[in-house]
C-alpha cells in the first residue's frame, strides 16, 4: 500500500527522522513504537502528506505527486483526537462529506453504521467535544477518519489517554473495525502490549532512526540491537 523510500525529515538543523525505508502491506496493521521524541508522529504525518520529506513516498506503487487526490483515501486520527471544538460530534464526522456535496441520506446512513460499530449513541453524536469523555472523543475521531471509506487508517496513540477499562474496550472495538472493514492501518503507540495486540508488523524507532522492523515474536526472540531488549524489559518492570 505505502512504501517509503529513503525518507528523512529535517526541522532546521535537527533530523527528526533519519533515512528510513519501509513498506506497509495492504490489509495489514503496522505499529510504530518507540520512546517520546523518537519521530513516530513525524513519520505518520509523512504518510498523511502533512510533512514534505526528502525521499519518495509511494502510494499504490506510484510516487505521490498530488497529495489532494491521495488524502481522501487516507484517514488520520491525530494524537488527541483533534476534534473541532466548535462543531458537534456529528458535524465533525460529516464535515468533509458535506464539503464534497455528498447526498444527505447517504451521509446519515454511513454515520449511523459507523456509530453503531463504535457504540456511539445518537444523543452523544449531537454533543460538542467538550461534552464528551476522552474515550467518546477518540471514537468520534476514528469515525470521522473512516467516513470516506479510506484505504488506510493512520492512528496516533489512539488509546493513550484512557483509563484501563475503556482502553481495553476501545482496543477490542478498534481491532474489530480494522478487521471488519479490512483496512490497512498504521498505529503509533508507546505501549508494547498494544503493539503485541495490533501488530502484523512492528517498527521500533529511536532518535529518528529505525532500530528493528519485524513481527512482535521476532522482537522477543531475535533482537537486532541491545536497545530492543532494553525497551521490552523497561515495559515489563512496571
Amino acid at each position: 500500500m505505502f512504501s517509503l523510500r529513503n525518507i528523512s525529515v529535517r526541522y532546521g538543523n535537527t533530523l527528526a527522522v533519519k533515512p528510513v525505508s519501509l513498506n506497509v502491506e495492504p490489509g495489514r496493521t503496522l505499529v510504530l513504537i518507540g520512546p517520546s521524541g523518537s519521530g513516530k508522529t513525524t513519520l505518520l504525518r509523512v504518510m498523511a502528506g502533512l510533512v514534505r520529506p526528502e525521499g519518495a513516498v509511494c502510494f499504490d506503487g506510484a510516487a505521490v505527486e498530488d497529495w489532494r487526490a491521495v488524502r481522501r483515501r487516507i484517514g488520520y486520527v491525530v494524537q488527541d483526537g483533534g476534534l473541532f471544538p466548535h462543531l458537534t460530534a456529528r458535524q465533525n464526522i460529516t464535515l468533509m462529506s458535506r464539503e464534497l456535496g455528498r447526498d444527505a441520506g447517504e451521509i446519515a446512513a454511513r454515520t449511523d453504521e459507523l456509530a453503531s460499530l463504535t457504540h456511539l449513541s445518537a444523543d452523544q453524536l449531537d454533543r460538542y467535544p467538550a461534552e464528551l469523555s476522552g474515550g467518546q472523543r477518540q471514537r468520534v475521531g476514528i469515525v470521522r477518519a473512516l467516513m470516506l471509506r479510506p484505504d488506510v487508517l493512520l492512528l496516533d496513540e489512539p488509546l493513550s489517554a484512557l483509563d484501563p477499562i475503556i482502553r481495553a474496550q476501545l482496543a477490542q472495538e478498534l481491532k474489530t473495525i480494522i478487521e471488519t472493514l479490512g483496512t490497512t492501518a498504521v498505529l503509533v503507540t508507546h505501549s508494547l502490549s498494544e503493539a503485541r495486540y495490533f501488530s502484523d508488523q512492528l517498527v521500533l524507532m529511536r532518535n529518528g532512526g529505525v532500530v528493528q522492523i519485524g513481527s512482535y515474536a521476532a522482537f522477543e526472540e531475535a533482537p537486532e540491537d541491545p536497545f530492543v531488549t532494553e525497551f521490552i524489559e523497561a515495559e515489563s518492570m512496571l
Partner: protein, 495 residues
C-alpha cells in the same frame, strides 16, 4: 450580513448633511463664531446662495488650509495673524502689503470690520496690586511668575517667543493650553499670567488687568474677512457692507453676552440688521436639547460606523494574510502599529491637505486607528489555533478556503470580535476630536462648552459620548456571545 452592512453604510452616509454652496468657517473661539454668523447672515440677506457655517473648526492653520483647499469660502481673521503667523516668511511690513500677498494665492480680504483685537498680558487685579504690575516691562522683576498661554500663542512667530525676546522676559514656567481654559486657570490660581485678546469678555468678568504694551511689540490685529477670489461678487459686496460697523467696545459686549448664554446667531443678527438696514433672521438653530443630542448622535454614529465598517473590511484580509505569510505579517503588524502611535490631533492635521476638513478626514483617521486592534486580533486568533486541529483539517482533505471558512475563522471569531470591540470603543472616544475639524458629533457641544465655559454644554457632549461607549461595549459583548460557537463557550465554562 454583507447586504445589511452595506445598507447601514449608505444610511449613515445619507445622514450626513449635504454641502451648501457658500461655506463660512470660524475658529474655535466665541468672537470668531459671532463673526462667522455675521458673514453667513449678511451673505444670505444679500444673495440667493445657500450659505452654511462650519463653526469652531479649530486654529489658524486648519482654517487657512481649508480656505486654500476650497473647503470653506470665507472666514474671519486678523491682519496681524495673517502677516505674522500665516505668512511669516513674506516679511510684510504693514497691512497695506496684505492684499497683494493674498492675491497670489487666489484670496482676498474685506475692509476691516472696525475693531482691533490685539494681544496683551493679563493678570488678576490682586496680582497686579501685590506686585505693582502696570506694564509688560514690569514682568521682568518677577522671574517666578507662571504663564498659561494659548497653544497658538506658544507656537506662532509673533507669539510667546517674540514677546519674551522683545521684553527680555525671564519666566520659564510657560504652559500651553486652550485659550478659554487659561482664564479658568488664572482665576483658580494655577497660573499667574495669561495671554489675552483685548476683546475677550473674560477680562471684565474676572476683573483682570491688561498690562500695557510699553514697547509696542504687538502689531495691529484688525478684524477682516478672508475669502476666496472666486466668491460671487454680491457675497463680497455683502461682506464689504459690514466694514467699520463694530468697534472694540461693541465686540467686547457681544463676547460678554455670548458668554452669558445669548445665541451667537441672534447677536450677529443685531449687528447685521443695523449694518445692512434690513431685518435679518438669526440662522442659528433653535432645536431642543433632545433634538441636538439626537443630531449629534447620528453624526457620531456615522463617523464611527463608516470608519469601523471600512476598517473591518480591510483589516480582516490583512490579518488573515499576516497569519498566512509570517514575514509579510511582521511588516503589516509593524506598519499598523506605527499608525497607532501618531498622535490623533497630528493625524487630523496631516490629513487636512489630503482630504480637506469635516467628516472625511475624521473618518479616515478613525479608520487608520481601528486597523491595529482588528488586524492584531485576527492574526492572534488565527495563529493561536492548535496545530493538531489544522493537521486534522488538512488530513480530512479540506481545501485552504474551506479550512479558513469552516475551521479557522469560527475558532478565531471570539478573538477577532474582541478586536473589533476595542476598535469601536476607541473610535467613539476619538471621534469627539473630529469636531475640531468640523466633523460634528459629540465633540461639538464639548468644544462649544469649553469656549463658553458652560458645564451643561460640555456634559451635553461628554455624557452621551460616555453612554455610547458603554452601549457599544455592551452591544459587542452580546455580539461576542452570539458569534462565539456554542462548542467554544462550553470549553470556556468547563474547568
Amino acid at each position: 450580513m454583507r447586504t445589511a452592512l452595506f445598507a447601514l453604510l449608505s444610511l449613515l452616509v445619507a445622514a450626513m448633511p449635504a454641502r451648501a454652496q457658500i461655506v463660512v468657517g470660524s475658529k474655535l473661539f466665541t468672537e470668531s463664531v459671532i463673526l462667522g454668523e455675521m458673514a453667513q447672515e449678511a451673505i444670505t440677506a444679500r444673495t440667493d446662495e445657500a450659505v452654511s457655517h462650519k463653526r469652531e473648526l479649530g486654529g489658524t492653520r486648519i482654517m487657512w488650509n481649508a480656505l486654500i483647499a476650497g473647503e470653506i469660502d470665507v472666514y474671519p481673521d486678523y491682519t496681524g495673524t495673517i502677516r505674522y503667523e500665516i505668512l511669516p516668511d513674506e516679511g510684510l511690513e504693514t497691512d497695506a502689503a496684505l492684499p497683494a500677498a493674498l492675491a497670489t494665492r487666489g484670496l482676498e480680504m474685506s475692509a476691516p470690520l472696525g475693531f482691533s483685537n490685539t494681544y496683551a498680558v493679563a493678570v488678576t487685579r490682586e496680582t497686579a496690586t501685590r506686585l505693582g504690575l502696570r506694564t509688560t516691562s514690569d514682568l521682568r522683576a518677577h522671574p517666578n511668575l507662571r504663564f498659561g498661554v494659548s497653544n497658538e500663542f506658544l507656537d506662532r512667530a509673533d507669539g510667546w517667543q517674540a514677546l519674551a525676546a522683545a521684553y527680555d522676559l525671564p519666566q520659564t514656567d510657560v504652559r500651553g493650553m486652550i485659550h478659554d481654559l487659561s482664564y479658568r486657570a488664572l482665576a483658580s490660581g494655577q497660573v499667574d499670567a495669561v495671554d489675552a485678546y483685548t476683546t475677550d469678555a473674560q477680562i471684565a468678568q474676572y476683573d483682570l488687568v491688561l498690562l500695557e504694551d510699553d514697547r509696542n511689540h504687538f502689531p495691529v490685529y484688525d478684524a477682516v474677512y478672508l475669502y476666496r477670489s472666486d466668491l460671487p461678487e454680491p457675497a463680497k459686496a455683502a461682506l464689504g457692507e459690514l466694514a467699520g460697523t463694530l468697534d472694540e467696545a461693541g465686540m467686547q459686549d457681544l463676547n460678554d453676552r455670548a458668554q452669558s448664554g445669548a445665541a451667537e446667531g441672534d447677536l450677529a443678527a443685531e449687528i447685521v440688521s443695523l449694518a445692512l438696514g434690513v431685518d435679518v433672521e438669526a440662522s442659528g438653530r433653535t432645536d431642543s436639547r433632545a433634538g441636538r443630542v439626537w443630531q449629534r448622535t447620528k453624526e457620531h454614529l456615522a463617523l464611527v460606523g463608516i470608519a469601523l465598517g471600512a476598517a473591518i473590511v480591510i483589516a480582516l484580509p490583512l490579518g488573515i494574510a499576516a497569519a498566512r505569510l509570517p514575514r509579510f505579517g511582521n511588516a503589516i503588524l509593524g506598519a499598523v502599529g506605527v499608525l497607532q502611535t501618531i498622535p490623533s490631533l497630528a493625524l487630523f492635521v496631516i490629513l487636512i491637505p489630503l482630504l480637506g476638513i469635516g467628516a472625511v478626514p475624521t473618518i479616515a483617521a478613525l479608520f487608520l486607528y481601528s486597523l491595529l486592534p482588528v488586524v492584531r486580533n485576527t492574526h492572534a486568533g488565527l495563529t493561536g489555533i492548535a496545530p493538531a486541529l489544522l493537521d486534522s483539517a488538512d488530513a480530512l482533505g479540506l481545501s485552504r478556503t474551506a479550512r479558513l471558512r469552516r475551521i479557522e475563522l469560527p475558532l478565531a471569531a471570539p478573538t477577532i470580535m474582541a478586536g473589533v470591540k476595542t476598535a469601536a470603543v476607541i473610535a467613539v472616544g476619538l471621534a469627539t476630536l473630529g469636531a475640531i475639524i468640523g466633523a460634528g458629533g459629540y465633540g461639538q457641544p464639548i468644544l462649544t462648552g469649553i469656549r463658553l465655559a458652560s458645564t451643561p454644554l460640555i456634559l451635553e457632549g461628554a455624557i452621551p459620548a460616555a453612554v455610547l461607549a458603554l452601549v457599544m461595549q455592551a452591544a459587542f459583548d452580546l455580539a461576542e456571545r452570539w458569534i462565539t460557537p456554542r462548542g467554544l463557550r462550553l470549553r470556556q465554562a468547563a474547568p
